[in-house]
C-alpha cells in the first residue's frame, strides 16, 4: 500500500505535515490543506518550502523536494549555492484523480507547485505505485 503526504516548511520555523495535528484528516472537517491555508492567514506566516513523502510497506520513505525559499542570514542559499537558485514566491498543492466511466479505473497523482513571478515548477508524484515522479515547468 502506498501512502503519500505533503510537508510544508513555514516561515515561523515549524513544519506542517498532512495528517498530523493541527492538519489532521478528520471526517466532515476541512481538509488538511484547507486547514493549513486558514492557519497561514490566522498566524501571518507563509510557506517557505514543500516536499512530498511516499511510504510503501517494507520500503524506506522517499522524499521529493521542491525548490525552497531557504536563505542563510548572509543571504546565500544553503543548497547548491553556486547555482544561485531563485526563491519561489508561493507554493500550492493539489491531488489529481482521473476515472474512466467505462472501467471505473482510477489514476492518482499528488502535485506540489512552486510559483515564481513569471513561471511555476510543479512536482508530480504517482500515488498508485509510488515509484515515479515528474517535474513540469509552466
Amino acid at each position: 500500500m502506498v501512502k503519500t503526504k505533503w510537508l510544508a516548511a513555514l516561515s515561523d520555523g515549524t513544519m506542517a505535515v498532512e495528517g498530523v495535528a493541527p492538519f489532521a484528516e478528520v471526517k466532515d472537517e476541512l481538509s488538511p490543506w484547507q486547514k493549513l491555508l486558514a492557519y497561514l492567514d490566522a498566524h501571518d506566516v507563509h510557506i517557505t518550502g514543500m516536499r512530498v513523502q511516499v511510504s510503501k510497506c517494507g520500503e524506506a520513505t522517499r522524499t521529493y523536494n521542491l525548490p525552497s525559499f531557504n536563505k542563510t542570514p548572509e543571504g546565500n542559499h544553503e543548497k547548491w549555492v553556486t547555482l544561485y537558485p531563485r526563491d519561489p514566491a508561493s507554493y500550492t498543492y493539489r491531488r489529481w484523480v482521473t476515472c474512466s466511466l467505462t472501467t471505473k479505473e482510477e489514476r492518482h497523482h499528488i502535485e506540489v507547485c512552486a510559483h515564481y513571478a513569471d513561471f511555476a515548477v510543479s512536482l508530480f508524484v504517482d500515488e498508485d505505485e509510488g515509484n515515479e515522479s515528474w517535474v513540469v515547468v509552466h
Binding site: Q34, R95, W96, S100, L101
Partner: protein, 186 residues
C-alpha cells in the same frame, strides 16, 4: 479518502447506480437498436459487460444532439441549451465525487476517448457533451479537446451533472468508445 460514484438518471426520476463494470450505452429507438450513421442516439441505457441492459424499468434521459446550441430531450422536441435545458435531474449522467473531509475541486474535465489512449478520440464516433446549464455542446474528442467543468467550493461532496450524445460515423458496433473525468482537489 476520495471516491467516485457513478449514476444514471432515468426518466422515472430514479438514480441508478452504475457499478464498477457497468457502462453507459447509446442506442437507437430501443436497447440494442442500431443508430443510423450520421444520426444521433434515441435512447441511453446502462448495461453490463455482457451487453445486458440494467435499466429495465425506466431508461436514462436521452439528450440528443440537434445543433451546436440545441438538443432533443427525451424525444420531446428540440430546445435551446441553457438554464433548464436540461435540468440537473434531466441529465443522463451523474458523477459524485466524495471525500472524507471538505475539499475544493478545480480543473475538472470530461472527454471521450478510444478506451486506450486519453488523447485519441473514440473510433468512428462523433461525440458531444455538456454540463447542466451549458449553452452549447462541446465536441470533447480526446483529452486535448476536453470539456471544462465548473470549479466547486469547499465541500465533502461534489456532484457533476453531465449530458452526452453520440453518432456513428460508420456501420458497426463501436466498442472503442469510452468516457473519462478528471479533477483536482485540495
Amino acid at each position: 479518502m476520495a471516491a467516485f460514484e457513478w449514476y444514471g438518471q432515468d426518466t422515472g426520476t430514479a438514480l441508478m447506480a452504475v457499478g464498477a463494470t457497468d457502462r453507459y450505452g447509446f442506442y437507437g429507438a430501443a436497447f440494442n437498436d442500431a443508430i443510423e450513421t450520421a444520426a444521433y442516439q434515441d435512447t441511453i441505457h446502462v448495461e453490463n459487460t455482457s451487453n445486458t441492459e440494467i435499466c429495465a424499468t425506466a431508461h436514462l434521459h436521452n439528450t440528443k444532439y440537434i445543433a451546436a446550441g440545441s438538443m432533443d430531450l427525451d424525444a420531446g422536441g428540440g430546445g435551446a441549451l441553457g438554464a433548464g435545458m436540461p435540468t440537473t435531474v434531466g441529465c443522463p449522467i451523474q458523477v459524485l465525487f466524495g471525500h472524507s473531509s471538505s475539499v475544493v475541486t478545480t480543473d475538472t474535465t470530461f472527454w471521450a476517448y478510444d478506451g486506450t489512449t486519453d488523447s485519441t478520440g473514440p473510433a468512428d464516433v462523433t461525440f458531444y457533451c455538456g454540463e447542466a446549464s451549458n449553452a452549447t455542446w462541446t465536441a470533447a474528442d480526446g483529452s486535448g479537446a476536453a470539456m471544462g467543468l465548473a470549479d466547486d467550493t469547499t465541500a465533502a461532496t461534489h456532484i457533476y451533472y453531465l449530458f452526452a450524445s453520440a453518432s456513428p460515423d460508420t456501420v458497426g458496433v463501436k466498442e472503442d468508445f469510452a468516457m473519462k473525468l478528471q479533477l483536482t482537489y485540495s
